[in-house]
Symmetry: C2
Subunit: 312 residues, 2 copies
């Protein structure tokens, strides 16, 4: 006795709340009391690992040198990157307790009494990692080998944007490829990957398209920076409808940094001339959420081609 | 022309600085400017994944339900856990920027001038996860299924203990098994795993032993809590010499929480009676560091049995 699903309009189909509740009902995610900080269930995680493995079998990701960094990063690096000026609203600064026994008792007593206690903390040497590739650039300082480098990292990133909308997370995993080398090689690499990324997502049956994009620069100056970034086509994104048809979700970005990082860290080509960097940033959770949105909450029922492609 | 290595005494063999430098020289780790926040290289990471997979093939880890949580956790949960009172020196509190455009410019200008800027931040709803299992307990609230539950998590943990000593990290991965159920079942499970864990490490050729242990409770009250914990044998650790022969490094702990968590979160057995929890916490990086220390910096040269066991 199969029945056609009831007719729904596009607004209902893309209701963020309904999507969230369906993910919870299927134990794909577990609410944790933190907006954008939910736990991931067994099936969600399995799909994520399969998807990441598919990406790592694609193009020159196979040849990229893997590195792994923790979710914390040197405070000095964030300062040097100019992150405070560009994205102050997104930072995560880590503070800890440096006090005496008596102070600790006072702090715990405040907390127990429901009072705020954080004024008793001091700053640590670390902040939360906002982008998986940041720790890579300082390691390239100096002359590059002939042909440059390609590295891959997968890291937990923090962005302070609490939201009930499942694709907007405070903490998420980003798979990145980082290419550093001759300017023309790096730009071509970025453009090739945009095509390759589109093909990969299409092979998974996702209704993606690509567009020129900008980073979420803060404030008035930020608007100018964003416009300039778009005019120069420094950033492209692959987007797909997940929680909205009109405002599709970015699942992968392709960023040509020109000399932004190589200048800061003194990275030059083997012959001493200026090097460029570009990176590809793949939102692992967002890609997985797009798969669940597009193909349904049970991967056993996904199209054969999609399951095969993912080796699910 | 092979030569015998020069004779070294035990103090030299366990020099933390020399071990650190050897790890760096072999690109097993990458310095990041953060004490205890280094990057992990390709070979280190491969061994870590193989080791984790070995553990997950062992005993009832196979049957444990996997969950995945981000490295952040609700501030309220840390407060409720009593963590501020017990381990204030280890906490990581996440602070961010909530201000205006003008305030952001002021903050960035301070940073650019080498002044401190963190007084312009406010607290977020999150802290850093100090133990991988913490987010699991709230999910168990209410009546357990018959036989209780077993769950596994692997998460990035933060502890504010900056150190140049490679086994003392601010950020590291912990694989945990969490068992919740009848008191006698849970205690037996903990004891069985202590034996099973010892066998696993011995199969990897590590000179481990086990001992009664305590958590690093803070201050004067902490010393009392630690003594009490030891007297009741609530915590065991498996330790192995890595940076010191006299003070071996804990690589796995076995913790019987009794009603500490089930009381806080209203977790009861299927028949409504009191439930207990226990957990096994496996330090993934520390275990890997122990393998490199014991068998050498090149896994290709490790004993055949060790490589086979790890499926390297």
């Amino acid at each position: 006795m199969t029945q056609s699903p009831p007719a729904v309009d596009a607004a209902d189909r893309y209701d963020p709340r309904a999507f969230h509740d369906a993910l919870v009902a299927h134990k794909l995610i577990y609410p944790s009391g933190v907006k954008g900080g939910y736990g991931r269930g067994e099936v969600f995680e399995h799909v994520l690992q399969c998807f990441d493995a598919l990406f790592m079998r694609t193009g020159d990701a196979v040849d990229a040198k893997p590195m792994m960094f923790p979710p914390i990063v040197a405070r000095e690096l964030i300062e040097k990157m100019g992150y405070l000026g560009n994205f102050p609203q997104l930072i995560g600064s880590v503070h800890s307790f440096f006090g005496t026994d008596a102070a600790a008792r006072e702090m715990a007593a405040k907390a127990a009494a429901g009072q705020r206690w954080e004024d008793m903390l001091g700053i640590t040497e670390v902040m939360l990692l906002p982008a998986a590739c940041y720790p890579v650039y300082p390691l390239f300082s100096g002359l590059l080998p002939e042909g440059g480098r390609i590295v891959t990292v997968m890291g937990w990133c923090y962005r302070h944007e609490p939201s009930d909308e499942p694709t907007r997370m405070q903490s998420f995993r980003m798979r990145e490829l980082v290419r550093v080398g001759a300017p023309e090689v790096v730009q071509q690499w970025r453009d090739d990957w945009l095509e390759r990324g589109m093909s990969m997502f299409r092979s998974l049956g996702l209704p993606v398209h690509s567009e020129v994009a900008n980073d979420p620069f803060f404030g008035k100056t930020g608007r100018f920076l964003a416009e300039s970034q778009r005019e120069m086509c420094l950033k492209f994104e692959i987007v797909v409808p997940v929680v909205s048809l009109e405002k599709p979700t970015a699942i992968c970005s392709f960023n040509w940094h020109q000399e932004h990082f190589t200048g800061k860290f003194g990275i030059r080509q083997a012959d001493g001339t200026a090097a460029h960097t570009a990176c590809l940033g793949l939102g692992l959770e967002r890609s997985v959420l797009a798969l669940f949105k597009t193909h349904g909450m049970d991967p056993d029922g996904w199209p054969y081609e999609v399951r095969t492609e993912l080796r699910l």
